[in-house]
Every structure is written in structure tokens, then in C-alpha cells.
Symmetry: C2
Subunit: 674 residues, 2 copies
């Protein structure tokens, strides 16, 4: 009888002969099979659960007998009794191979498990977090074998987990003594192995075996809003999400006014740095509280943002970004102590990873969208538009990817709109206008009914959010309340008392609860603000198409915090995006946030985007004369010159005109970067 046995692991198919008596976990390691373990084979963590198969395996030419694995032992019985073990499961560190066997590693026992990303594309992502919990037995100090706690911990991590050359910040060193003694020299170490050539780092130390996962923060730091997710680093699940306004708004609504603030006010940049750091720290506190997670368990943060926010967050002077050649102080990805950017309280050694910037004003937010949407992996030509105060636009396919940033201003986020507000209960988010009666019906956030349905009730209507204003303007154009130049017709011209004069222009009344409640209208000024914003967006996209040498794209992806809520039809009526078949317009939700989560969960994703940013070609909108031309031509709704044949198939726009006076008031003005 042979002293060794065949073992075949599924689904990997990895196989080999191992000595009888070898624990399954050890066999998996020897054969390079991805089988998780936090406790290092001590029967504590249960992460190494496997499902042995018995019987005939003709495919492998094996018969697996009941005695192929050692009998269930006391450790497994105890575990099953206390925590419960699924039928057919064994602990890989306890079950020993005694004969030929086929062993399945279920998805949840794989370190590098694949998870489905919650985005339109539903692509899978492989878990490969930089920081993992490692349970270790540390030698106790002895007067005769003197060495420091840290040195003994390092030695234990090296011998038990092959972690070489461990580093630790002072803040972590300061916690070592307590954790080691409290855990009786058994601790769970949060160790970051960045995989970028730098040394592994100890980020936190927990007494004893830590049952709960480690966590990370994915933060999308926008000019107007800061959104964050708290993510479990074992399976990538989102435990809490929250957002808040960027407090820098008080220094300037758009990025360029913040750069000006820094330029004009000594100490102004530092003031903005302090404000955004405090807000991010507050967001981190909100997220951990909401999820009931102790801050010390949060070991990593990933931040994506545009270059101005990037510089202000890091305490770098943003002034160079206010003028050509828009030189960045540094553009590469950064792996910093989270405390360096004021992100606390988290784990004492928590790290912050900032995605690389692309160039000029095309930032890490755009890089995150590129990471999430991966246009470079597709044959068809994708136009990806991340709608925010600044629009990040990507155009590309397998052969080439271009990017630009276009200053749309905050109108799409409901700012600078007379009845505008952020997306919150009470805000109008959908609207339809009857082309005959010119009467509106709408839906508000937090209410499942349309306003003309019985169930709507009498809620307070507070204003109109970003997606609502886009629909309102587009519906007004479809209903003939608005002409191609963007002028609102008078009550007489359009035949509706809902158009009322406001100075020398008109406004369209959607809802009027005066004097008790708010009056929600769309003013001529609102139309102009939306025209400016959509022209900037369209002009940016066209500039990339020029550079790519194409007249149309195969698909359009709308991204951004509220990108998911934009109605493709209305966006196309507005002329926000180039003409494509309606079904070719999809929403990617908050793709920048998704990219941030990917970078949080996967070192491979970090390496991938670090490489990809060097290949993405940035097109600078600010100095490109054609951008101006495209911008002016795009002022009309949907467009002054470009045909929109696909749009014409689904909607016909009335050919009205309300004024013979000067048109395109907004066209000649150049909006500042926002």
C-alpha cells in the first residue's frame, strides 16, 4: 500500500500526490490551491472549510472511499456544535488525507473569491485585498532571549505566514504591548502587503482570534458631494453608504473658484484642506456608526477625486491647476498613512490609497471610472460620461482610450437652478408634460405614485433634483414650451397659463403651493444653466470623437452619483450626449465609486489602473479651439447643426420659435471649470 495519495481540488483542477496524513489545508498550500485561513490551521477560524466528494469520479479515474479523509475530530465536532458546520463540510486544517480524494473548495473558502459587482455591467471582480487578517502565536518575552514585542511579532509573522520585513508606524507600535498581553500572546494582525514592491506593513493588532472581517472605506470625493461606502474586505460587501456636501463649497462652488480662493487668500488652500479632511473624517465616523463597526477594524481607505480635490486633500497647492499647462504636483497613485490626510479614527495604522490621476484636470475619479467600466477590454466604441460638477468623459475601445474633463458646473446636481435641490425626499425626480394640454405630472423621491394618481396624497414638494430638471427641460422642448434656442414661450405663444412672465422672460410653473408651500418652476435662467452644462458635456464628447476620428459611437454609458437616474431619452432630447440608438445608452451608476471599491478589494485592480492611466490619452479641453466651436453649436436643443437621426426615430420635436432676437446668449461665454 502506497504511503501517499492523489488529491484533486475542484474547481481549480489542481492535483498532486501528498503523503498520507497531510491535512487538506497543507495539501492545498503545497499545490498552490486558493484555500483561505486566518488562524493558520489552528481550527479556530473555519475559513478553510472544504467539501470532500466521495464515490466514483470517472473523469479523474478515481474512487474515493469513506476513509479517504480522517474521521471528524474533536475540534470539528466542537466547531459544529457551537458554530454549525454545513452538511458535508470539513475543516481543511483538521481533515487529513488518508487516501485518494477529490476536494471541492467552496467559493466562500477562497481568498481570491470572485464577487459580482453591483453595477450595470455586473462584471465579476476577484477579491484580492491588500490587507488581510493573520492570526499568530507570538513568543513571550524572556529576560534571557531579549527582543522587542515588535521583533517577536515580526518573527512570528515571518515563520507562520511568510511575511518578510514587516514595517509599522509609531501609532501601531504604541498599541502592540496591550494587544499582545490582552490576547495572551495570540493575536490577529492586520497586515498590508501592498504588492507594489514596498514592504508589508502592520496596520492593526487585535487580541486573540478576530472573528469579524476587516473593513475598508471607498470614498468618492467630488467637488459638490462626498460619497463613501464601508466595505467588508473579506467578501467586498457594502455594509453602509453615506454622503455629505463638500464643505469646500463655501470657498467656491466650482473648482476654479476654489483655486482662485487659494490664489487670493494666504492660507486659503490650508483652510480648504482642513475643511475637506474634517468632512471625510466625519463621513468615516458616520459609516462605521451606521454599520456598527468599530473604527479600529477599518484598515484601508481608497479615495478617488479630481486633481484639484486631490491636491487640496493632500495639502498641495492647487494654483498650478488654474493655468496652462495644468501641471500636477504629483500624479501617481499614493499609499499613505490615513492619518496623514486626517482620516481618523480608524485602525491605528490605517492606509489610504489614492488612485493615480490621468493628467491635467483628468483625475483619479476618471481613472476610477476607467477601472470600473474598462472600455479598453471591449471591441465596440464606448463613450462613458461621468456626470458631475465636472464631467469626466472617456472614449475608447481595445485599441485606444481617450479622456477629457469638461466643466459642466453644478446645474446637473440641482445647484444654480432656481427650484433646484439635492436628491432627497420631496424632490421632483421624474416629470412628463402633456404635449396637448401642457399640463405636467411628476413623481417625487420617496413616493411611489405619480402626482395625478390617487395614491399620491398631499406630500410637500420641496423642489427639483438633477434628474428632474433634465426631464423637465427635455419635456418642455417636446411639448413645445421651449424652442430650439432654449427660449420659453409666453402663455399666449404656447397656449398654457402655466407659462408666466418673470421680468422680460417666462417661467413654467410645475407646482404651486403658494402661499403655504413652495412654488416649483423652471425659469429661463434654469434653461440657460442647463444649456451651458449640457453644451460642455456634449462638446467634450465631440472633442474626443474628433480626436478618435469618428462621427458616432457604439454605446453611451452614463455614470456619476446621479447618472443612474438620468433618463436616456431625455438626455438625448437635451443633446447632452451624441445621437445613438436609445437601447445603446446604459447607466453605470456611480462608476467612480465602483472603481474605488474595486481598488479597495483588489491589489490587481490597483496595478491594472496604475498601468492603464499611462496609456489613456488626455485631451485638454481648456486650450482646444474646437472645444469652443462644439460648445457654441451644442447650445441649441438638441443641437444647432448635428442631425440626431436616432432621436428622430423615437420622438419628434416641434419646430417652434419664440423670439427672433439674439440667440445663444450662453454660447459665447466660457464656463469656468467646475
Amino acid at each position: 500500500m502506497s504511503d501517499d495519495a492523489w488529491v484533486i481540488f475542484t474547481p481549480s483542477g489542481k492535483r498532486g500526490r501528498v503523503a498520507k496524513g497531510t491535512p487538506v489545508l497543507a495539501a492545498a498550500r503545497a499545490l498552490g490551491v486558493d484555500l483561505d485561513s486566518v488562524c493558520g490551521g489552528r481550527g479556530i477560524c473555519s475559513k478553510c472549510q472544504v467539501a470532500p466528494g466521495y464515490g466514483e469520479f470517472p473523469k479523474h479515474g478515481l474512487h474515493v472511499g469513506a476513509e479517504a479523509l480522517s474521521p471528524v475530530n474533536a475540534v470539528e465536532e466542537r466547531y459544529d456544535r457551537i458554530r454549525g458546520l454545513k452538511p458535508g463540510r470539513r475543516l481543511g486544517c483538521q481533515a487529513c488525507i488518508q487516501g485518494d480524494v477529490v476536494i471541492d473548495v467552496p467559493a466562500e473558502s477562497q481568498v481570491h473569491r470572485q464577487v459580482i459587482r453591483k453595477s450595470a455591467s455586473e462584471r465579476v471582480m476577484e477579491m484580492d485585498p491588500a490587507t488581510r487578517p493573520l492570526y499568530v502565536d507570538v513568543a513571550e518575552p524572556s529576560m534571557h532571549e531579549p527582543s522587542g514585542d515588535f521583533e517577536r511579532l515580526s518573527a512570528a509573522l515571518q515563520s507562520q505566514w511568510q511575511v518578510k520585513g514587516l514595517q509599522a508606524d509609531l501609532a501601531v507600535l504604541a498599541t502592540l504591548q496591550t494587544a499582545l498581553r490582552k490576547g495572551g500572546w495570540k493575536v490577529t494582525a492586520a497586515v498590508q502587503e501592498p504588492g507594489d514592491g514596498t514592504a508589508p506593513r502592520l496596520l492593526a493588532l487585535y487580541p486573540g482570534y478576530r472573528e469579524a472581517p476587516l473593513y475598508g472605506l471607498a470614498i468618492d470625493l467630488g467637488s459638490t458631494t462626498i460619497a463613501g461606502h464601508l466595505v467588508a474586505l473579506d467578501d467586498g460587501s457594502v455594509c453602509a453608504s453615506s454622503g455629505l456636501m463638500n464643505p469646500q463649497i463655501r470657498f467656491g462652488e466650482d473648482l476654479m473658484s476654489r483655486v482662485s480662493y487659494a490664489m487670493m487668500n494666504p492660507g486659503g488652500a490650508a483652510e480648504m484642506t482642513a475643511a475637506v479632511r474634517a468632512a471625510m473624517a466625519g463621513l468615516a465616523a458616520t459609516l462605521t456608526e451606521e454599520a456598527g463597526v468599530e473604527p479600529e477594524a477599518v484598515v484601508e481607505a481608497v479615495v478617488v477625486c479630481n486633481p484639484v480635490m486631490h491636491h487640496l486633500l493632500l495639502g498641495l497647492d492647487p494654483v498650478e491647476l488654474g493655468q496652462a499647462p495644468f501641471a500636477l504636483a504629483c500624479g501617481a497613485s499614493l499609499n499613505l498613512a490615513a492619518a496623514e490626510i486626517g482620516l481618523a479614527p480608524l485602525a491605528p495604522g490605517a492606509r489610504a490609497y489614492l488612485l493615480p490621476l490621468i493628467a491635467g484636470h483628468v483625475g483619479a475619479d476618471c481613472a476610477a471610472v476607467a477601472l470600473s467600466e474598462a472600455p479598453e477590454t471591449r471591441d465596440d466604441l464606448s463613450l462613458i460620461v461621468d456626470v458631475g460638477t465636472n464631467a469626466e468623459i472617456l472614449l475608447g475601445n481595445r485599441s485606444r482610450v481617450l479622456a477629457c474633463s469638461s466643466p459642466t458646473g453644478p446645474a446637473f446636481e440641482g445647484a444654480q437652478i432656481s427650484s433646484g435641490q439635492r436628491a432627497a425626499p420631496g424632490a421632483i425626480e421624474r416629470i412628463e408634460i402633456d404635449p396637448v394640454t401642457k399640463e405636467p405630472r411628476f413623481r417625487i423621491i420617496g413616493n411611489a405614485h405619480w402626482s395625478d394618481e390617487p395614491g399620491f396624497g398631499t406630500p410637500t414638494i420641496t423642489g427639483i433634483c438633477g434628474s428632474g430638471i433634465i426631464e423637465a427641460v427635455a419635456e418642455m422642448r417636446i411639448a413645445g414650451l421651449l424652442d430650439a434656442s432654449g427660449l420659453i414661450g409666453s402663455a399666449d405663444q404656447v397656449g398654457s397659463a402655466r407659462c408666466v412672465p418673470m421680468g422680460r422672460t417666462q417661467e413654467y410653473v410645475i407646482h404651486d403651493a403658494a402661499p403655504e408651500g413652495p412654488r416649483v418652476t423652471v425659469t429661463q435662467g434654469d434653461i440657460r444653466a442647463i444649456q451651458l452644462a449640457k453644451s460642455a458635456l456634449y462638446a467634450g464628447a465631440r472633442l474626443l470623437m474628433d480626436e478618435m476620428g469618428v462621427d458616432k459611437v457604439d454605446r453611451v454609458v452614463l455614470a456619476g452619483a446621479f447618472g443612474a437616474h438620468i433618463s436616456p431619452k431625455h438626455a438625448m432630447v437635451l443633446g447632452m450626449i451624441p445621437d445613438v440608438p436609445l437601447e445603446a445608452v446604459t447607466s453605470a451608476g456611480n462608476a467612480a465609486g465602483t472603481g474605488a471599491r474595486m481598488a479597495l478589494c483588489s491589489r490587481a485592480a490597483r496595478r491594472s489602473i496604475e498601468a492603464q492611466v499611462t496609456r489613456i490619452v488626455k485631451i485638454e479641453t481648456a486650450i482646444e479651439p474646437r472645444f469652443q466651436e462644439h460648445f457654441v453649436a451644442a447650445n441649441a436643443i438638441p443641437h444647432a447643426t448635428a442631425p440626431f437621426p436616432e432621436l428622430a426615430k423615437i420622438v419628434s420635436l416641434p419646430d417652434v420659435s419664440f423670439n427672433a432676437g439674439p440667440t445663444g446668449e450662453g454660447g459665447g461665454r466660457r464656463r469656468r471649470r467646475g
Copy 2:
């Protein structure tokens, strides 16, 4: 005629053939000759000066003609006109090799020049600083080749200086934009290449070519005093030295009372951390101001200290050091951002290197003494005693080195002595007592004359310093004013009115200016304090000798801030140190401070002591019963049982006894670690 030529460099003797037209600097680099350059061959820095030899060189079989180097060019002429070039010198980057030539590299043109250390041993040290100034031309930003300032600087350092994978702290990144633009994209970068396997780091960036050297701080952080030197990193010269009291004294005079303070007071450790960091920052400011050096030019600091000070400086809890097994939180050397330990303002990215601790209470100060004195390089057996509030004691030779720490208390530094004071003008530092008349004569700091000489004048005598009290007690013993048990005789017993009663004991009056001025006496309490201190010192040394299995040592080195001032004869009369021939006792001055300077100037020194500490065997005094025995026996002056034959050759101690009562009051008490 050949296209290449022989070039021989002296003093290295390196030689080879190079293509004619090769600049001397390039030839030196190609042949691995140590020829300095900061500007990288641009004719700016003049660091690459060489002295070509002409004529016959029979040793090398060469004739060097006048045309062997290219003629002096415009760059050299300009340099000579403005800055002056010594006769016979050429700039290595300008002079090109045109024929066989012998080129001498003067010491000041070598990066790794050897400097004589200012210590008793006068050993040479090779300059090998971790941080060097590197002058670079950085590419300007361009809209079409977008990359960050930091990335372009990194690329320049890589191509012009082979610096790969440059890292920088945020604080340094924040200064980049200004320095690069102010210097017109020509800058001098202070780059640390730690040589410990970690990545090179940018510590500071100066606009244009920086003429002045970079600087470092060597800090000896003692329990009682903090001493610092400002050192030029090009030649190791000391530009300023200063010291101050350790402000932690208000929390406890000795280390154990500070540990107790931390144990009893929540936040107490943090309070002490803040105090010592503030003091060190103040010391740094004093040193730069004194030397007229801008703080931004200080790029490194080396700190040596005992383990309790180490932990308190780093913000680590020192409580474990208060009890066996005296476990360190971390003992290895550290290379930190200086700002992390509050050492500012220095260069924005200044680093602090902490020497490794040896073990338990044997700290980095002892490691620094070991580095400076290098007992492991000698055949004879050295006993090295670093006298401070805690004595660090090393015993060893080529085969083995032992170390211990012994809690002497602050008596040797003049503290806990009734008339004690720190070494400052007005303090008695030398004293002689006439064995017949029992009259004293003395010298005070700041006065070249003895008190019985006409030139002495009528200075104010303020007290007695550490070396003074040692001499006073020893002289009292020689003069028969003190018996072997340490009792001061009465006026009747000794026949001198200078012995006056003080309660039930006697005091000896050295100087009495009352009522106008101070009265300087040695009290019975002072004698007891000195007996405790010297017994601890001697017992520590004996413990190491026991461990080594020897009864005598070949040489004794007295080190410590005031080690240089201790009279070997008096130290031996006191029984501070084991009996050796007087000429075998030398002083090493502040060896810990010297070790700190060595580590500041030389990466090789850092690697050497990091390796050496793992070989030094620590002997723990606190739990060793023999330490108690040695301590008790050493209470007598010079010793209760050990013969002092060498001492007997130079001085005979009167056999007096002033009391038949209980002796050795101090012997039974165990002093706390100080």
C-alpha cells in the same frame, strides 16, 4: 596613435584605459573611483576638483605630458576668477583626458573621505552619509506630455543620478512646486538612500544649485540632560553643540520614577512624551540658530537614548520596562520621519534614525558607546563605563562583548548632592586636600587658577559639580577625613575644624562665604549618595567580569558627558572601577554622542551597530543575586574585600575608623534604576 589613454587615480591606485576626450569625472565613475560631485558634471559645484600630476612616474611606468589633459576651459577660468581654484587643481568634469595621466583625488573631493573622530581613540571614520545633495535638471511640464512635478523630478534623479523608486512624504511633495519653479527647473535634491533595503526618499528640495552642505543632528537624550550637535554632512564637522536639562525631571528624577508616573497617572506617559519632544525641538532650534544654519538644511537626526527614554520619546508605554522581563515594545533601529517625533522645524522630509536598543534596560545609548569604542575590534579586554544617571557598562574583546545597565542615580551628575550643581562656571571641578593640614585647595570651572594661587581672585563659588564631588570624596578618604565605611570623622577625630557637626553626623566644609555667599560642604548624606552610585557602577562591572570569567580587565574607558572630566586616580580611590594600572584608564568623552555622530555620518556605521547589537550579550542586573552581593561589598571605600594592588602602588589609604556602630547603611538598600 592610440585612441585611448591610461589613467591612474591616486591614492586609490585604480587605473584603466579610457577613450581620449573622456572627462576626468566620467573616467573616475567608470573606474569606480570615489570622486565627489553634487552638480553631476555641470561645472557648478567644484566638488570634483582633482590634482593632475605631470612628469615621470617610474612607479607606474608613465610619462605625463603637459597635454595629457585638455587646456583649462572657460568654465574653469570663470570658476577660478569668482571662487578661486587652488594652484594645480582642475575641475574633474571639465578637464578631459587626452593622454596617459596620473590624477590625484584630494581628500576633500572624496565622498567617502575619512575624518578623524574627536575622541580619545582618534580613530578615523569614513564619511558615508545616508543623505546627499544631488543637483538635477528637471523637465518642464507640458500639456502634451503630462506628468506630475514629482514624477518628472523622479525621472530626472533616475536618469541623472541612478536613484530608483524615489519616495516622498506629503510634507515634501507640498514644497516641490515652489522649489522647481523658483529654481527654473534646476534644483538640488536632498535624497536619502538609507542602504537598508528601503526605497530612496526625497527629504528636501532647494531651488537651483545649493552651495552649502546639508546638516544633521546628533542627539544624546539622557535621563537628566539632552545634548545635541549640529553636524555638516559633507565632512562630519560639528558646527554647534548645546545641551539642556531633560524636562521630564519634573515627573521623576530617575527612570523608574518616570515609569511609575506613567503607571499611576492616566495620560502621564503622553505628558512626558510631549515634554521631551518639545525640549528636543527647542534644542534643534538653538543649534541651528547658533550655527546660523537654516532649519530647512537639516535633513537627518540621530537619537541615542536608554530604553525608557526611547519609549517615552516614541510615545510607547514604558510600563513594561518597570518589571521583569523588561520587555521592549520594539528594539530594532528605526528610520522615521523626524516630524513623527515632533522634531521640527527641520527640512520638510527630515528623517530621524534611532539606534537599536540592546535589550531590557541596555539601550541605544549603550549601543552608541559600543559603536564609538568598538571593543569587539580589540584583543585586549576593555571595560567601558558610560557614567550617567544610569551607567551603561560594556566588557569585551574580539571574542565576546557583554553589556549591562546599572542604576547609579544622578549623584555623579551633581544631583542629590547638598552643594551639587551641573558643570557650569563657578562650580568646583577639581579639589586636593592636604593630608597633614586637612586644608582644601580647588579649581572652579571658568578659572585657570587653583584657589590658593594669587590669580584666583575672588570669584563666586556656586557649588560642586559631578567630577568635583568624586574628587572631594576620594581626597577626604586619602586625607583620613573619611574611613573605609564612608563615615566622616569629627573635628576631634581628624584634627580639623573643617569637620563640623550636622545633627548626628559630620560635614566637611570646603568653602564658606556665608553669610554673603554660598557655603560648599560635603555632608554625610553626600557621601552615602556617592557610595550608592559607585557601588552600583562597580557591581555592574563585576557582574560582567563574573560572566566573562575574569578577575581583572586590561583597560578601563570612562565615558559619558562628564566622563572626560573624571580623574582616574580618584575614581579608583572611590572604588568606582575595578583595580587596573592607572595608565590603563582613559577617557572617551561623550562616547554615546560620538556614536550618534558616527551613525549620522555613515550608513556603514548604522549597519555595523545593527549587526553588533545582536551579538552583544545583555546581563540583567535587576534580577541577578550576585549583583546585590557585589553592590553590598562595594559600599566600602574603595571596597570591603577586593584588593586594589594597582591602587596601592600610587596611593596609601589611612586605616582610620570613626565609628564602631553599624556600617554599610546604604548597602542593604537597593537603589532604583535611574
